[in-house]
Amino acid sequence: MVLTPEELELFDHGLSLEENPRSASVAAMKFIQDRRGWVSDEAMEWLSVKLGVSLSDLESVATFYSLVFRKPVGRHVILMCDSVSCWVMGYESAREHIRRRLGIDVGQTTEDQRFTWLTIPCLGACDMAPAMMVDEVLCGPLTPELIDNVLDACDEADSE
């Protein structure tokens, strides 16, 4: 089962608001990702039948959008802005701090599956550059202290 009966009901309601099943493709993948953290092969096959879109077509859509995850990600996703204002304001030292603290590089997931660290184009937060989003919270300008505070909060949430 890709979705529970309750989830399916919600999914079908969302689908009924779309102009046609195909136009729901991105929203449908996000629906699954919001609940499972990523979109598995099994989920893709199910969606393909559900939306009446061929699997290869649907896969081409999934792989186009950078925020559709086709691989498992950690419990916390760090999206670090890598665009020009954040570069000018010195994102490199913020990156170095995260690298040291988590022991991974951009594009990787920690061994304990708790953090995935990715880059994202301009977060639209150039007045607080360098900036990042952790889970759904925007933070900046990044200093070692701010990064530690944010990641400490993730640690605390996980230990509860």
């Binding site: 102009e19 665009s83 000018v88 639209g124 150039c126």
Partner: protein
């Protein structure tokens, strides 16, 4: 003097959202009532045309003229779409986020007026996933507006209907290009479409559609409420209205400032953004996001508007400046932007798909100290081959704007990387 900053007057300094009641208390939805009661759709189009409003998303096309391209209904009962483009992803641009987060009802009212003008019955907001707070506030505002009878069937008893949806996107700069946005809304990869036909004639699902930037739409209620002459009076130059200018980089107070259109660059930088940080001098700036040409200190007294920036050889773009200081490597800065453009190319057109990665790798080699003299010719040639006329959309032509202007203004920096075999800004 509240009239001087119509777009941001209602927005709280701390950015907390305005509720429906609060928006109504400062005159919100009055323009909608006026239009539905007193104006035919074509009169709204005419008013916006006369106001001189030009699109704030980058291209600067006349908004009223775009609306005028939508064919008259003449018994056509099919769907028509008004789409607000909230995919703000131009590097260095952060103005629409402020407008949606601070006053989502202003956007909704602008969309209602635009939809009424073009006789659309469907409204979409296309918003990027990363604008999470903006999305949540907008959704709450739409619920309030629906409850109050501003959205839905027979709005305020006028017989005008509008269905309203918010689409949350899943990344990719390409989605901000208007035809790619339409393909994305239809559930596909965000590839651009060949024009003509233009979206006002054949857009979403082949139906007449108008796509407008968020800031553009937020201007509309004020224009309808106060008239075209008032709107012209707001600006210092020929281009009408106010503008949300942005400044980022090594300045004292990076931020967004609503000022009269045509405010000189120097005033925006020095008075509003507080000037350069201590120990940093200005070397150049990108006036309207990453896909505009560098301006240099001699341009500082230019009025910041569409025509003056164009006359200086650059583009007004989104009106949000990115500052290059004398302690930042121009080659590294351009490399960062070309990395972005190469990554964000949708791959539809060969010059963009193949050319941008080549540019990016060439710049990376120069930055590493492995550049050769003829690399500059390679870059120069790409500026031409990726320029206007070779691709479906403006991504590649935009991508080479900062590059070609950097080669012009900062050529000695490229050369010194090559001659010294290292980046002069990085250690020894």
């Amino acid at each position: 003097m509240t009239a001087e900053t119509p777009l941001t007057t209602g927005i709280r300094p701390n950015g907390d959202v305005l509720t429906l009641r609060e928006y109504e208390a400062i005159g919100g939805y009055r323009a909608l009532r006026k239009a539905l009661r007193e104006m035919a759709p074509s009169e709204v189009v005419d008013t916006v045309k006369e106001s001189g409003l030009r699109g704030r998303g980058g291209a600067g096309f006349s908004t009223g003229m775009k609306w005028g391209f939508v064919p008259e209904r003449n018994g056509d009962t099919g769907r028509r779409y008004l789409i607000a483009n909230g995919d703000e992803m131009e590097p260095g641009t952060f103005k629409d986020r402020l407008l949606i987060e601070g006053n989502p009802h202003q956007l909704i009212e602008g969309m209602l007026l635009a939809a009424y003008a073009i006789e659309a019955d469907f409204g979409y907001v296309f918003i990027r996933w990363a604008y999470r707070d903006a999305f949540l506030r907008l959704r709450r505002a739409a619920d309030e507006a629906r409850e109050a009878g501003y959205i839905g069937r027979d709005i305020l008893g006028s017989g005008f209907h509008l269905e309203f949806h918010v689409h949350v996107s899943a990344g990719r700069y390409m989605c901000g290009e208007e035809t790619a946005l339409l393909t994305s809304l239809q559930g596909g990869r965000a590839n651009p479409r060949s024009k003509p036909p233009f979206p006002p004639v054949a857009g979403l699902y082949g139906r007449p559609s108008v796509v407008q930037n968020i800031e553009t739409l937020c201007n509309v209620p004020h224009i309808v409420a106060n008239g075209a002459a008032w709107y012209h009076g707001l600006s210092l130059t020929e281009d009408a209205g106010t503008k949300l200018y942005g400044v980022s980089g090594k300045v004292e107070r990076p931020g967004i400032f609503e000022l009269p259109m045509g405010t000189p660059i120097r005033e925006i930088l020095e008075e509003h953004a507080g000037g350069m940080q201590d120990g940093y001098a200005l070397r150049g700036l990108l006036p309207g996001g990453a896909s505009t040409r560098f301006l240099v200190p001699e341009h500082l007294d230019l009025p910041m508007d569409f025509s003056h920036i164009q006359d200086a050889g650059s583009r007004f773009g989104t009106g949000t400046m990115i500052v290059l200081d004398h302690r930042t490597c121009p080659v590294g800065m351009v490399h960062n932007m070309e990395h972005f453009f190469a990554q964000e190319s949708c791959g539809w057109c060969t010059p963009c798909r193949d050319g941008l990665p080549w540019v990016e790798r060439t710049l990376a080699a120069i930055e590493r100290g492995e550049g050769r003299r003829d690399d500059l010719d390679v870059l120069q040639r790409h500026c031409k081959m990726l320029g206007p006329g070779y691709t479906f959309c403006a991504l590649a032509p935009g991508a080479v704007e900062p590059l070609s202007s950097a080669l012009e203004h900062f050529r000695e920096d490229f050369e010194s990387h090559i001659d010294k075999g290292r980046c002069p800004w990085r250690g020894i």
